[in-house]
């Protein structure tokens, strides 16, 4: 059995082994193996290629950009996604614009340990995928499975564009697979995580699992929901989403991020524009509440969508 977190470690080990241009840079990623142990043992296995950085997110990303322009394939680990606000400028104004401005690609991968877990609070729980997806020039990956965590991270390092890799902390230990994948779905394509005829739930990252749990529960009541796992939010695979809505006629977009804008708004807007005639009922969104992510589990459990609140929303859409 291999966890989502181990898959991330293994993907990095493979990238380091296969490609001498790869190195890892971030706070405590060296001998310590990272705050979550995503780089455990790698500093020893690949001497001089897994390096501790000072507490300087702007300079961490900046150094990675310079190395990438010069032909390397750096992987940056942010200790938490939330701290990427401090490296934000280098990511969105430097890495993202470099290819378009100069014709020279900037292949960095920025790993963002993302999303909420019980007790993490306002500054260790954020979902930042939409922030980055808004900027031209970035690829934004949001793997929901062990297999995707592994194969998409490999792909992130391999492609010539900057990638924001949003790995979900809630899945780190909870999610397990039998083995690492040997084949992979192409990046940029969404996946039907569960087939169903009554309603399409579009989700990504940890919310895929809440949606699947909800689907399981509703199946007992005779309702079959289809769950689409976006896998990447930029590019966003509109075709797969539309094909699903064509089958079900109903859409619920579920995301852990805040309600204003973001992936859910983008999904609903695309379906409303390009699949208007497919809809038998108004599309709906389910998001976290419009406050900072609360610290206490009692509040946190209500702040973000869960299988239970998804089920409530599904029933509402089905009733229309």
């Amino acid at each position: 059995m291999i966890t989502y977190l181990e898959a991330i470690r293994e993907a990095q080990a493979k990238a380091l082994a296969d490609d001498p241009r790869v190195f890892i840079y971030g706070q405590d990623v060296g001998a310590f193996g990272g705050a979550f142990k995503a780089t455990k043992g790698l500093a020893k296995e690949f001497p001089g290629r897994v390096l501790d950085a000072p507490l300087s997110e702007d300079a961490i990303v900046g150094l990675a950009i310079g190395a990438a322009i010069d032909g390397m394939r750096p992987i940056v680990e942010m200790q938490f996604a939330d701290f990427s606000t401090v490296g934000f400028n280098q990511i969105v104004n430097h890495a993202a614009t470099h290819f378009w401005r100069t014709g020279v690609p900037c292949p960095i991968t920025v790993r963002l340990p993302s999303g909420g877990t019980a007790g993490s609070g306002p500054f260790h729980s954020q979902c930042m995928e939409a922030l980055y997806a808004t900027y031209p020039g970035l690829i934004v990956m949001t793997p929901a499975t062990v297999e995707d965590a592994y194969s998409m991270l490999l792909e992130a390092v391999a492609i010539d564009d900057p990638v924001i890799f949003c790995e979900h902390k809630y899945l780190y230990y909870h999610l397990k697979a039998e083995a690492l994948p040997t084949e992979a779905m192409p990046v940029g394509k969404a996946r039907i995580a569960r087939a169903g005829r009554d309603l399409t739930v579009v989700a990504y990252s940890a919310m895929v699992h809440e949606a699947l749990a909800c689907a399981e529960e509703l199946a007992g009541e005779g309702t079959e929901i289809e769950v689409v796992d976006l896998r990447t939010v930029k590019p966003l695979d509109t075709d797969t989403v539309l094909a699903s809505v064509a089958r079900t006629g109903r859409l619920l977009a579920v995301g852990e991020a805040w309600p204003w804008g973001g992936v859910n708004a983008e999904v609903v807007a695309r379906v409303a524009s390009d699949g208007f005639a497919l809809l038998d009922a108004p599309p709906r969104r389910l998001n976290a509440k419009d406050t900072p992510v609360p610290f206490h589990p009692n509040l946190w459990g209500t702040h973000r969508p869960t299988a239970r609140s998804i089920a409530v929303a599904v029933r509402e859409v089905l009733s229309q």
């Binding site: 500054f123 260790h124 309600p259 204003w260 419009d290 610290f295 209500t302």
Partner: protein, 339 residues
């Protein structure tokens, strides 16, 4: 700008010293309690303690005047918080998620604060509190007040943030009465100072900002009270911003989830004195108190902490249904979007 100050340490007034010592004791005991509650799975979120940093921290809180001054503590400042007037009960409430705690379950543990009382509520992003303290000082100066001062804590790791640099430089330009206390405890999480900076002494940075710098051995409570008190006095009386660089060792893991096994054992001999027994020794040597009295204080502290835990555990937890899920205060401008 003057040369970094290296003061000869002469013991402070006994009452001051004993008050500080008792607060250190309370900080140590309360944090040991939180750590054990954490191990028992009774605390959500991380527990980060100030073991070994109490002398430095208490000196800040005790040298400030609540109601007049601003204090922005960080994760290892239980002692400073208590000295600045926080109750053990409020601290404990935050750890145990009581709805009556200052953060009402919305934020946790070390992020607690009481901004109306000048005790700011840290955000996690290191370096960010410095300019915010400056802002409060700036506001007070603009309102024509005087005699106030602000103190802000930062670690060796935190000195590498852009926020630190911008804010310290800004405070110097504005000549604000700010005391920046750098606790160089040799590690930022697992990262030793050799991977954090390359200067001979962080104190050299003071001159680069045009600030007065103060070196300090933070294992020595008398030195802490004297140097921190002096820097705060200087800032308060128009001396401009001050930078203290205190040397010590983090006598624990980064948080209670971490055993800190990466700490170089050599550090323990070089900078690793524990300020608490060292302070106790001085008390006994000076006969300011005897062992029995100290033991009685310890018992009092243990009782206070136990009572706080018992009280907080009886209190209601946050209730999502009673919660006001709104992040702004202007009700008519709350986004009508409802899901």
């Amino acid at each position: 700008m003057q040369e970094p100050l290296v003061e000869s340490v002469h013991p402070p007034a006994p009452e001051e010293y004993l008050r500080a010592y008792r607060t250190m004791l309370l900080a140590r005991i309360s944090e040991e309690k939180y750590a054990s509650l954490y191990r028992a799975g009774k605390i959500f979120g991380g527990v980060f303690i100030g073991r070994g940093q109490e002398a430095l921290s208490v000196s800040i809180g005790q040298s400030l005047r609540r109601g007049t001054d601003i204090f922005a503590p960080l994760i290892r400042d239980q002692a400073g918080r208590l000295a600045f007037g926080e109750s053990v009960l409020d601290a404990t409430r935050t750890y145990l998620g009581s709805r009556l705690g200052p953060m009402r379950g919305r934020d946790g543990n070390v992020h607690r604060g009481y901004p109306r009382e000048g005790h700011l509520a840290m955000i996690s992003h290191l370096g960010a509190m410095i300019s915010v303290v400056s802002g409060a000082l700036f506001a007070r100066r603009m309102r024509g007040l005087s005699g106030f001062v602000g103190a802000v804590c930062i670690g060796d790791g935190g000195t590498s943030t852009g926020a630190f640099h911008e804010a310290v430089n800004q405070a110097a330009v504005e000549k604000l009465p700010l005391v920046v206390v750098v606790a160089n405890n040799q590690y930022a999480y697992s990262t030793p100072t050799s991977r954090q900076f390359a200067c001979d002494d962080l104190l050299d940075r003071a001159r680069g900002y045009g600030m007065r710098g103060h070196a300090l051995d933070a294992t020595n409570l008398a030195a802490c009270l004297q140097t921190v008190g002096h820097a705060i006095d200087l800032a308060r009386t128009g001396g401009g911003p001050q930078m203290i660089v205190a040397t010590l060792l983090r006598l624990c893991g980064h948080g209670e989830h971490d055993d800190g096994n990466y700490i170089d054992p050599k550090q323990h001999t070089e900078v690793g004195g524990d300020c608490l027994p060292l302070a106790e020794r001085l008390i006994l040597e000076n006969k300011w108190a005897d062992a029995a009295e100290i033991e009685a204080w310890r018992k009092t502290a243990v009782r206070e902490v136990d009572e706080a835990v018992a009280t907080a555990q009886r209190e209601a937890l946050p209730d999502p249904d009673a919660e006001q899920w709104q992040a702004i205060t202007t009700a008519r401008l709350i986004d009508g979007f409802t899901e």
